[in-house]
Symmetry: C2
Subunit: 290 residues, 2 copies
């Protein structure tokens, strides 16, 4: 059985087919041009494949409400030509089940099937880059609620030594405003610092402090069995021990959990799916509706 | 069909039977004496009833891990005689399915079946009293994760005018440390203020600010369709509009959701089940495993 997947990104579409075990059999890339061009290229590909289902993990904002007239659409994106684009509808003629979700929900699901949280019913995947986003698997289900998680905008305490005002256009100093890539770059370039900051620079203490607070609040809300941190900023691997230490410190011994007390190194971890995370995310969504 | 329920509290046990519609047919109360006395009283009652299942909503801490040797136990409570008490085991001779959970998870479930969040798959019930606890229904399931939510210990920003250090023995100034009943009483009695504080006292602004922050972080994580606030402190009904206004203000227009923009009065609400919430919580747990 073949499953199709589309990682719909703002600069490129990655698509292909895999078997049920997540073995990718074909993987293609095309640039994100106008929808009529890109979606035709991708449609034509899948029309020639005998896939049982299709998963789409998309950049946003997207409409995930199945009762909505614009379910399956990319909605108010600043990306030229892509506002109000019916992504799911472009593939309806395939006459197969189509799953549609955020890219980060796809990544969270794929990691929980084939990756770092494989076999666990409760896990969280967080990407820290241009934005901060999270996908949550709780009791075996992707959490949507009335929309989808927006953990990037959580409220955090500001570090006593940090006088940066933050870059979030809505909240200034929410998590994304203080710990995203653009926040990081603006804060330190404003101060005339080289952006290749050494590992002992306080920039990383601030970063770890903000991310750790979000993790603590997520732990206390969802009690996940594993937290996976990905995205560009997390390529700074020395952040992991800093974040782990800060989580343990902020919890102050409250949670008498072996995961946290004795296994923090395997509790807060890197993703396992690497460069294929996006495509496997889409494929896991496709697998999930079969 | 009859369902049995036990609300196991530190001062009294409330127990009885209901039908599947949550109509309570019998409701009894006995004081929480030594386990061998209280549990025998309750066991003898149910042994004479033809119930199909039994739900127990208990004070904590309790062991909810079904793989654990002490699943179904009240564990390290300071309550005399009740440490390491096998609550579920005391009813095993009934030979019926027994559901066991926290009292607040039971209340969250009951509200989602018969109460303020009836029919919704995503809701949160928070009790604000001696402690602050939360029960979460996400995608139709009670959220346990590796334990159960402990939202009372979330990290919050301290109000600029509040110099109270907080009462949490672990974190000092977490949510429970700054907004629970004991925190409230200690802060204002230290200041020589009468505990009957007028509605325009800044005490309520602090309280609303702290609770609203927790709600905002919960909204951004779980996107619930309804938030229910109960517990002793929420009997101060004037807190509801203050909390709603503060949630809207803290979100700063970020979430383009009708629930929050236009329906905040029916989004953050009082419980509906009143004095029967605890018993109906237990009964809903019992119904849930049938």
């Amino acid at each position: 059985m073949l499953i199709g997947g589309i990682e719909a990104g703002g600069t490129k579409f990655v698509y292909g087919v895999a078997n049920e075990n997540g073995d990718i059999l074909e993987r293609l890339i095309c640039p994100t041009e106008k929808p009529e061009i890109t979606l035709k290229t991708v449609y034509d590909y899948f029309a020639s494949k005998n896939i049982s289902s299709l998963g789409i993990g998309s950049f946003g904002p997207i409409d995930l409400n199945k009762l909505s007239d614009t379910y399956g659409y990319i909605t108010t994106t600043p990306k030229p030509y892509w506002q109000n684009t019916n992504l799911v509808g472009a593939f309806s003629k395939l006459n197969i089940p189509i799953a549609f979700d955020t890219d980060v929900n796809g990544a969270a699901l794929a990691e929980s099937i084939w990756g770092a949280s494989a076999g666990l019913k409760n896990s969280v995947y967080i990407t820290v880059g241009t934005g901060i986003g999270g996908g949550i698997i709780s009791e075996g289900n992707i959490v949507h609620g009335m929309l989808h998680p927006e953990i990037g905008h959580m409220l955090i305490r500001i570090h006593a030594e940090d006088d940066f005002e933050g870059v979030c256009p809505f909240h200034k100093d929410c998590l994304e405003g203080m710990a995203s890539g653009p926040s990081f770059n603006k804060r330190w370039s404003l101060r005339g610092e080289n952006q290749e900051l050494p590992e002992n620079h306080k920039a990383w203490d601030f970063e770890a402090y903000y991310l750790a607070q979000a993790l603590v609040n997520i732990i206390l809300t969802l009690m996940p069995e594993k937290i996976i941190l990905g995205g560009g900023i997390m390529n700074e691997k020395h952040l992991f021990p800093k974040i782990r230490a800060c989580v343990v410190s902020l919890l102050s011994g409250y949670l008498n959990s072996e995961y946290i007390l004795n296994e923090i190194d395997s509790y807060i971890v890197e993703p396992k799916l690497g460069n294929n995370a996006g495509l496997l995310g889409a494929i896991s969504l496709g697998k999930n509706i079969l």
